[in-house]
Amino acid sequence: MFFKSGKKNGFEGGGLVLFENVEEAMSGERALKAEGVENRLVAPPPELRKGCDLALEINLVEKPAVERMLRSRQAHFIDILPMKGDAELLEVVQVTDFGDAVMVKAGNMKLTFDKSSGVVLNISGGGCPDIPYLHAQMLAKPLDRAPRPKEMGHTLCSLMLDRAYVQSLDIWKNGGR
């Protein structure tokens, strides 16, 4: 027995881009279509509505990439929210001190760096395909010269890694404390 999607075109993204007015929603749709990002125009549920009564459903996981694309094409939007569940991204950050190294955990992502040199020793956790890519780009580089996950990543995992990165940089600049 299989669950049916219940969506006419089979697209279920779980995320909503909210706009101030209909023109901006149409402009956002054009911008994402031009970038090849799957989306569809929908009416936002009343509890999530901000601005106009037209929104774009996107794959929530691609939130950072969608934000970047919309901004680069000057397509204004109010917010990107999950269609159900907690509307806020996890803010909790946990720190583990290994002596010479520190591991910072944000959501499902962990970044470990050397306390004295700030070199990224390891990145673990996550599951989206930009994480192994970011791992390869950031590994063995000092935090202040490593690419910022938020600027290079596409997914929510990269946003979580970015939180770990920002916190790591702060800890390192304060002498590993």
Binding site: S5, L60, E88, V92, F98, G107, N108, G127
Partner: protein
């Protein structure tokens, strides 16, 4: 045949299918060479070492380059939807790929069109997609870490980044409660291997094994130490082990490989994987016997 599907951190790698061979810190699949780093490459590499030790054929890997844009992932989904019934693998591991709910549903449907539905394992974002799409129960085994278990336990969340704070902040003492919630809301596969400071193995809603030794906190920092567990479980199931025994052996082998490799937060995953043959030579028989005994006790209770 064990089929492992995922992405590699290279933009230029086309969809590549072939037997996987691990040479040092490099994984070779046909003409493609992929470094054995965090992600699906680690998973495939651990499966290679496991099957090699058992004298079995190497795993079949289906890898595609994807930097996170999802282009490679979509090719992978489409390929599986079209060809999974023909490939007829015994075990399939789905791993790093952009979570797309509709496409994951179609992959599961394609698996059912095979002569015999394969044993389906999902880890990483393939597990996120299966849970978010509401088809977790169609899978045989998931391998979440603690934060991902909180995601499975949260009926509303579609990605671990949006898990309710009270669930995310759970410590390992609440694992039984989170496991129960994940099964209750239909977000668990039949077997769960929860990776953490204490590994937990659950089947059909019941925790059947726990393991906290050897205690190596550095393993959590090393990118790929969860992937290796999924790779070993897939390999052991394809070699004929039942799911719980495979999971019991894999979590023990992972910790012991970390011990043998002298794991520190700076250790690379290929160094842990390299220790696996020695670990299996020293312990596989003993662990298999212990797991078998536990199985018998479980059946009798």
């Amino acid at each position: 045949m064990l089929l492992i599907c995922g992405t590699a951190p290279r933009k230029d790698l086309p969809l590549t299918e072939g037997d996987a061979i691990l040479q040092g810190d490099t994984l070779r699949i046909g003409p493609a060479a992929v470094p054995c780093t965090q992600g699906t490459a680690s998973l495939v590499s651990a499966a290679c070492k496991t099957l090699e030790f058992l004298g079995q054929s190497p795993p079949r890997a289906l890898l595609v380059g994807d930097d996170g844009s999802g282009k490679g992932s979509r090719l992978l989904y489409e390929h599986l939807i079209a060809h999974l019934p023909r490939l007829a693998p015994q075990v399939v591991v789905l791993h790093y790929m952009l979570p797309v709910m509709g496409l994951m549903r179609k992959v599961s449907e394609a698996a059912s069109k095979a002569k015999k539905r394969p044993f389906l394992i999902a880890d990483a974002a393939a597990m996120y997609a299966a849970k978010a799409a509401g088809i977790a129960r169609e899978f045989d085994l998931f391998t979440p870490d603690l934060s991902e278990l909180a995601f499975l336990a949260d009926p509303q969340a579609t990605h671990p980044a949006y898990v309710s704070r009270h669930l995310f902040e759970s410590d390992s003492s609440r694992i039984p409660e989170l496991v129960a919630a994940a099964y209750a809301n239909g977000s668990a596969a039949r077997t769960l291997v929860v990776k953490g400071a204490t590994d937990h193995i659950a089947q059909d809603g019941r925790i059947v094994d726990r393991l906290a030794e050897p205690n190596l906190p550095a393993l959590e920092a090393i990118g790929g130490t969860g992937d290796t567990i999924s790779g070993m479980v897939g390999a052991l199931v394809s070699a004929g082990f039942d799911a719980v025994t495979a999971a019991c052996v894999a979590v023990r082998a992972n910790r012991t490989a970390g011990l043998y490799a002298g794991a520190t937060p700076a250790t690379r995953i290929w160094q842990v994987i390299e220790a696996l043959p020695r670990v299996f030579a020293d312990h596989l028989d003993e662990w298999s016997r212990q797991a078998g005994t536990r199985n018998i006790e479980r059946s009798a209770s």
